[in-house]
């Protein structure tokens, strides 16, 4: 716990993403140690007047101790709902249908009553949100908002909590922390407020941090500082982190592994380096090729992929990405591709086994082998079948879904 208030952190700043370091240290024991967070077949469906919204539809993933997992996907792909459900903040309700399990440190927290869950919140798991303008209570002093957690979980008295709050603010790089603790959120800039929310999240030394687009609402220059701060704190605390983001640059520089979501499902997951070296799902490839605009909200970024985002109310029978996929074939429209291991691709002759032998069995359980590269596609990028699918579509000028293809766009 003393790690975060030790001196000016800048002296120990290093250029390596902390992710890389922790990946190396945890990777060898990966099969032996159980992941800190295991999400299995998670479903969150909302009953709405328009119909059932399948916001999260069978997501399985895991995060190991000290590891950083990136979750990327277009707006509406279910990232926020998934991460909140994983933490337990989305509970059962009259219009909310839940299934699947979440295990934290071996305990099935998806079955815990709210009072039990809230003992973990703040102490074991913490969260920071996208917009620091709205995620701090406008009528409470900064120090009080930090102190609350300390008093609840660490049993500190008012004076001790106040002192600790000052230390925490200093450790997240706020100047004049003695003055800041007495200020109200509206007296701070956006970047300062996000530092405060980080201080709150880290106050009780959680082992797992959920960061839902922690930089999306901030100025570009401030974004880098906040990411840097998060990375440093993550390394110092040896804390696991799930970063939800639109920004592939964030993913690339700050995560060990990545999960790509589309229409409430995991469509590809891999160690970060593997994913960037050889994306298999055409959607992931399109994300990587999409150039984020320099101005405007990051929510606009993924609009760069042509076509409409998927309909969560009435998902098509086949691949949800088919209407927008340059490789889509007839099979994609009728059969949902299962999650498959890319290891099979490498082992057998590329392409052939992927496209031709789906009888090879269902997807591997991700929780057991988190370092697997898995994807959900009949015609994966970089395989013979994938290349051929795309060639076919270019030749006929449209995909099997009827989407026209411009040769130069491919």
């Amino acid at each position: 716990m003393t790690s975060i208030d030790a001196g000016p952190a800048d002296q120990r700043r290093d250029t390596r993403p902390p992710a890389a370091g922790s990946a190396q240290t945890t990777a060898p024991g990966a099969t032996a140690t159980r992941p800190l967070l295991e999400v299995d077949q998670l479903r969150v469906h909302f009953a709405t007047p328009a119909g059932l919204v399948r916001a999260v539809d069978g997501v399985s993933l895991s995060v190991r101790a000290g590891e950083v997992l990136g979750v990327v996907g277009e707006s509406g792909s279910g990232k926020t709902v998934m991460s909140r459900r994983a933490m337990g903040l989305v509970g059962p309700g009259t219009t909310t249908r839940l299934s699947g399990t979440v295990r934290y440190d071996g305990t099935e927290i998806s079955a815990l009553p709210p009072a039990e869950l809230s003992k973990l919140w703040g102490s074991e798991m913490a969260m920071i949100l996208q917009d620091p303008m709205t995620s701090l209570n406008p009528v409470k002093r900064v120090g009080e908002q930090i102190g609350e957690s300390l008093r609840r979980h660490l049993g500190l008295d008012r004076a001790a909590a106040h002192q600790r709050a000052v230390q925490l603010l200093r450790s997240v790089g706020l100047s004049e922390p003695e003055r800041r603790v007495r200020q109200y959120p509206h007296e701070l800039s956006g970047g300062m407020r996000q530092r405060v929310t980080i201080a709150i999240a880290l106050s009780c030394d959680p082992r797992l941090l959920f960061a839902d687009e922690p930089t999306t609402a901030l100025d570009v220059t401030v974004q880098a500082q906040i990411l840097e701060l998060l990375a440093r704190q993550q390394a110092e605390h040896r804390m696991a982190m799930m970063i939800v983001t639109h920004d592939l640059r964030v993913v690339r520089g700050h995560t060990d592994r990545v999960v790509v979501m589309y229409a409430g499902k995991v469509v590809e997951a891999a160690p970060t380096r593997t994913l960037f070296a050889a994306p298999r799902m055409p959607y992931t490839e399109a994300l990587m090729n999409a150039v984020p605009p320099l101005t405007g909200s990051n929510h606009a970024v993924l609009r760069v992929i042509p076509g409409r985002p998927p309909n969560l109310l009435a998902p098509p029978p086949g691949c949800a990405f088919a209407p927008r996929c340059a490789s889509a074939q007839e099979r994609c429209l009728t059969e949902m591709p299962p999650l498959r291991s890319a290891a099979d691709l490498a082992g057998a002759s590329p392409g052939g086994s992927a496209a031709g032998a789906p009888a090879g069995g269902p997807a591997p359980a991700i929780a057991g082998t988190p370092d697997d590269h898995v994807y959900r596609c009949w015609y994966p990028v970089g395989t013979e079948a994938g290349d051929e699918a795309r060639r076919t579509n270019i030749e006929r000028g449209h995909t099997a879904a009827g989407t026209p293809i411009l040769a130069e766009a491919v």
Partner: protein, 351 residues
């Protein structure tokens, strides 16, 4: 009158934006004090203008009313000569505007004139009646808030559940019932028909007999507070429900705070602005306007006095009552503004 003062501070988008730009330094002490003085000065000026307008209007309206104070005072069998003599004696033969400034001059020296009917100095009548009305208004408000706040908070926490539905149904019933019917029902229940544990009418001073005082104000206060509690519950419930959707509430949950702490320490304060505004307006209204209830329960308060003064064309008495009511409206509004500032730090720096 209260519209400008009651504008919701939470809705002001500039409150957050202006200061977010950089690290704002606090204003130096001297400057803050001067700003405070300016604010108070502006308030007092407002008060003065409002009072002049209200008292002048009430003077003019009483003057236009049919009926003649002199005739009332002189008695039913008075001759026109007698009435004219009384009129001169009371100074009613002078033009309205002259009488107004005469009255205003009296106000400045603390003399509000005497009742035409009883000869009692108006200030004395007010001194007797203000504490009575004030006690009833305050107790009724406190009771209404004590009932409404927990019900609203719980209803917002579990909307559509038993407490929410039943308090809504009972509340609609209470709010829809006119005071005189509600009062009769209460009298039937507690002071006559079914039981007689409370007096039906009459008022006992607090310093004469505290317990008797309590008993004598219970029924009037209940009559006044039931409908108000229902409205307060409804208002606070919907504000709470929208506050509970805020990110900072999710953040508070993710810190592991208990529902009770989240509801009362995080959500209640930012949800209470419209409630406070309404409670302030009601407080002002109750001070001078609980006429039906005061008459019904024979409570010697301000409302009863004003009603009697209108009936008697006892215009100095009426003026005194109206002056007090107007002052209390303005004072209550100022207090509400102070309360806003205490509850929301974003209001404070706007001054």
């Amino acid at each position: 009158m209260s519209a400008g003062l009651a504008a919701s501070p939470a809705a002001d988008p500039t409150a957050g934006a202006t200061v977010a730009a950089g690290a704002p330094a606090r204003a130096p002490r001297g400057r803050r004090q001067r700003r405070f003085a300016a604010v108070v000065g502006k308030r007092l000026l407002h008060l003065l203008i409002v009072l002049l307008l209200v008292t002048f209007a009430s003077f003019a309206i009483t003057d236009l009313l049919p009926g003649d104070a002199a005739a009332t005072v002189a008695g039913e069998n008075a001759t026109p000569e007698q009435i004219a003599a009384v009129r001169t004696e009371l100074g009613l033969d002078r033009p309205m505007i002259v009488r107004y400034f005469d009255w205003l001059g009296g106000v400045l020296t603390g003399d509000l004139g005497n009742s035409f009917r009883t000869g009692q100095p108006v200030t004395e009548a007010l001194a007797q009646r203000i504490p009575v009305s004030f006690e009833i208004a305050v107790v009724a408000q406190i009771l209404a808030l004590l009932v409404a706040i927990p019900l609203a908070v719980y209803s917002a926490y579990r909307p559509g559940k038993l407490i929410d539905r039943s308090s809504m149904a009972i509340g609609f019933g209470a709010a829809a019932m006119p005071h005189f019917i509600l009062g009769m029902v209460l009298i039937l229940l507690f002071a006559g028909g079914l039981s007689s544990i409370l007096p039906a009418t009459g008022f006992v001073g607090f310093f004469d007999d505290p317990l008797g005082n309590l008993k004598s104000i219970i029924l009037p206060c209940l009559t006044l507070m039931l409908g108000e509690a229902a409205v307060y519950r409804q208002l606070l419930r919907s504000d709470m429900i929208s506050t509970l959707q805020e990110d900072f509430i999710l953040m508070a949950r993710s810190k592991g705070l208990s529902p009770r702490r989240i509801l009362f320490r995080h959500a209640l304060r930012p949800s209470s602005f419209s409630l406070i505004t309404l409670a302030g307006v009601n407080m002002g209204r109750l001070l001078g306007g609980a006429i039906v209830v005061e008459v019904m329960f024979a409570i010697p308060g301000l409302g009863q006095m004003v009603a009697q003064a209108v009936y008697d064309r006892d215009y100095l008495m009426l003026q005194g009552g109206i002056l007090v009511i107007a002052v209390s409206y303005v004072v209550i509004n100022a207090l509400i503004d102070l309360l806003y500032a205490a509850l929301d730090p974003r209001v404070r720096r706007r001054g």
